[in-house]
Symmetry: C2
Subunit: 136 residues, 2 copies
Amino acid sequence: MHPTISKMQEIVAKGDEQAMKEILSPNVQFKPPTYYKTWTGRDPVAAILGHVGKIFQDFAYTRIMGHDKNWALEFKCKIGDLDIVGVDLITLGEDGLIDILEVTMRPLKSISELREAINSRVLKDPRFLKFKSALS
Amino acid sequence: MHPTISKMQEIVAKGDEQAMKEILSPNVQFKPPTYYKTWTGRDPVAAILGHVGKIFQDFAYTRIMGHDKNWALEFKCKIGDLDIVGVDLITLGEDGLIDILEVTMRPLKSISELREAINSRVLKDPRFLKFKSALS
């Protein structure tokens, strides 16, 4: 197990934004399940993941697959009454930090609910006025 | 690489329903990205996957992660003009056949489009009158 992947498992469920920054590459790319665009950069990505960690309930990683720089972390959680199964697809850089985090999920209805919940939280976080430029 | 996983890579992109049956357990469970319910049984699951293989364009597996009985097959494809990234989460049985296939995807909009496309094809396939009982 790569140490970054071990840390990730502890950090994500808590929505610990500061701890998350320590395992993200400065130019990390985050590709969310909710829409097509990509977030770039440690600060906005840690902020988004912090919000998501607060939205999910009963979050748990169920299978860790991969090796070297390529990892798939399967998880389950709830959003309200809806179940989610998802995968954190991770590409590590030469320095061992996360270069790319792409998240896939099922089912459709839960992703739709997640999108609403994220939008609602992010609109109340004034930092996202600045972070908007990190979305492309 | 497990031989079932090698075969899977050849079969899925073609939507080859007959070849698919040979790597599915008789009581395989298929958990689709499009809705919460589970399909059970080799015939209906192969039929669904056959349809999906015809809907996807430019399908390619990008990373194969896992070992032993637990696998994550990352893929990319298109549905119309929309990009999809997804993961086939596979659990193999003692006999080496696929016991569980759970599929996660992103982004939301593409999954929504996939749902429409599947419904439209399945409604024209008379076998699904019988297969309905395999959905729970």
